[in-house]
């Protein structure tokens, strides 16, 4: 009896300690990044960093504007491609596909979600880069090396598909059969049921899935780095090479020790990544609450 109580006590305390440690980690990373970025903020104003368009650490120029534009374009286009396609495909798998097809497809999608991003990067390098260079760009009458914003976006979209599909399929499956029956029994078709009932009832989970997809796309480093071109100039078209925040860090970290200011600049980029992800999480919670309140499901 006493030993059981002791175990219970120790177990509870252990969980508390672990939880506190994890939360502390959050704050330590944040303050570490902030502290390390101070140096750059002493010499350059925030406006200069965010809006000046020359990034030349060797010449003491730290304008992030082209990289921020690159990041927004790459992430945004990736989501514009990925979200509608993933949701439609999830609807098909969950609602329309015969059971056999469903059973075969689902494990594939789960595996795709777990494939390391460098594998996607390699495939993109081998197939997507030449495809964009030789097929897509000529279509628009533009010349490109294939290493560009669009290629990076498509690569990211492909990486984000399985995540969104998998989560959406799960949330569609979680909707009770009786709710579908309620809609069908007034004579609604399957598509009407999907559109007006299933989508609404699963809206909170679908929104979470999209946010997770965003997180993956926004923070993805290596696959983007392999195909985006790595040029810190503001891209003029989607076929121009560019750079993203995460990919910038991985390109530059080997030289950053050369100067404390450079190091500080990269730390600041990391800080921006951290803050954006944080803000998006908060925003996500807010949107979820609204969705829950609106439909209360």
């Amino acid at each position: 009896m006493n030993r059981r109580k002791l175990r219970d006590f120790l177990g509870t305390k252990l969980m508390l300690v672990v939880t506190v440690a994890v939360s502390l980690l959050f704050f330590s990373i944040f303050f570490l990044l902030l502290f390390k970025s101070l140096l750059i903020f002493e010499q350059h104003s925030l406006t200069e960093i965010l809006f000046s368009s020359s990034w030349n650490p060797g010449f003491n120029q730290f304008g992030l504007y082209p990289i921020i534009v690159g990041t927004i374009l790459v992430t945004g286009i990736a989501l514009i491609i990925a979200v509608p396609i993933s949701i439609l495909s999830a609807v098909y798998i969950a609602e329309y596909a015969p059971k056999k097809v469903r059973k075969v497809i689902r494990p594939f999608i789960d595996v795709l979600a777990g494939v390391p991003s460098v594998v996607y990067g390699l495939c993109a390098l081998l197939f997507l880069v030449p495809f964009v260079k030789d097929v897509v760009a000529p279509w628009f009458g533009i010349e490109t090396t294939g290493y560009c914003i669009l290629t990076a976006s498509i690569t990211l979209a492909i990486m984000v598909f399985p995540i969104i599909i998998s989560l959406c399929v799960e949330s569609f499956h979680a909707i009770p059969l009786s709710l579908r029956e309620a809609s069908l029994s007034v004579g609604a078709t399957k598509w009407e049921t999907v559109k007006k009932v299933i989508f609404r009832a699963s809206a909170p989970s679908v929104i979470s899935a999209v946010f997770l997809g965003f997180g993956r796309a926004f923070g993805e480093t290596i696959a983007v780095n392999m195909v985006v071109g790595g040029i810190t100039r503001t891209p003029s078209t989607l076929f121009s090479p560019g750079q993203t925040l995460a990919s910038l860090i991985v390109s530059a970290y080997s030289d950053m020790m050369s100067s404390p200011l450079y190091e500080s600049a990269l730390m600041m980029v990391a800080l921006i990544l951290f803050i954006v992800v944080l803000l998006f999480n908060i925003f996500g919670i807010f949107v979820l609450r609204r969705a829950n309140k609106r439909w209360n499901v």
């Binding site: 059971k99 009770p176 059969l177 009786s178 709710l179 579908r180 029956e181 309620a182 809609s183 069908l184 029994s185 007034v186 004579g187 609604a188 078709t189 009407e192 007006k196 009932v197 609404r200 009832a201 609106r294 439909w295 209360n296 499901v297």
Partner: protein, 255 residues
């Protein structure tokens, strides 16, 4: 059943199985129009399955096999190439637990209307009010028609589901133990509504409380292990059952 009463639903040799497990066997029943027919029987005997076969809701589940005939107004609804939503529209469904759609109170009732009719806004508004009046909910919700339906109490939700069902003017109302999740007062309200509804609709009520069946039924079908043991007009069924198993069930020996 009076002899002149029209037959609304009739099944001929209906067989249903899930994953090759036979759930309904050789079902031959007749359900009279504009009467209240109770389907009774112990848990798991196939009552829900039988009820959902009438509006072809079974087939949305995996691995269901349905054989035989289901005649609604004399026409076999199991024929291929039929417009299934149209068949379903003729039969409202009230399930064991209320499932309001994830939208406002008003939109729940207007849901079917918007799909099927090209009524304008005012007409829809009027029909919504009429249906809510019909189920005795209007006075309770008229000030909050735009609130999510899920905020209503369970009893109110069940009446809302009934309003949603009758809004598309079905001929039949299928009810699957509609009072089993409700408190006695709310249950009584629903029961009264069903009695009122049978003037205009054919009501099929699945129930496993014998007392409820005795109170409301005109016609009774007794299912046991997926087979119809006995069916007939309520007074004969309850006072003079022929089958020994029916007698045992009525006396509470099997349940």
């Amino acid at each position: 059943m009076s002899t002149e009463s029209r037959i609304q639903i009739e099944t001929k040799n209906l067989n249903v199985s899930f994953h090759d497990h036979v759930v309904l066997q050789n079902i031959d029943i007749k359900i009279p129009a504009k009467k209240l027919t109770a389907i009774i029987g112990p848990s798991g005997c196939g009552k829900t399955t039988l009820l959902k076969s009438f509006n072809r809701l079974l087939e949305i589940q995996d691995d269901v096999k349905i054989a035989g005939q289901i005649l609604v107004d004399g026409k076999n609804i199991l024929r291929p190439h039929l417009d299934v939503p149209d068949i379903r529209k003729k039969m409202g469904l009230l399930s064991q637990k209320p499932y309001p759609l994830p939208m406002s109170i008003r939109d729940n009732v207007a849901y079917g209307l918007r799909i099927h009719s090209n009524k304008n806004k005012d007409e829809i508004e009027k029909t919504v009010e009429h249906c809510l009046q019909e189920v005795g909910l209007w006075n309770e919700v008229k000030g909050r028609l735009h609130d999510p339906a899920s905020q209503l109490s369970v009893g109110q939700q069940q009446r809302l589901c009934l309003a949603r069902a009758i809004a598309v003017e079905p001929e039949v109302v299928l009810c699957d133990e509609p009072t089993s999740a409700l408190d006695p007062l709310a249950a009584q309200q629903i029961e009264k509504l069903l009695l009122k509804l049978k003037k205009d609709y054919t009501v099929v009520l699945v129930t496993h409380t014998l007392r409820q069946a005795k109170r409301v039924a005109d016609y009774v079908i007794f299912l046991y292990f997926g087979m119809v043991i006995e069916q007939g007009p309520a007074d004969i069924f309850f006072n003079n059952p022929k089958n020994p198993e029916t007698k045992a069930y009525l006396s509470g020996e099997i349940s």
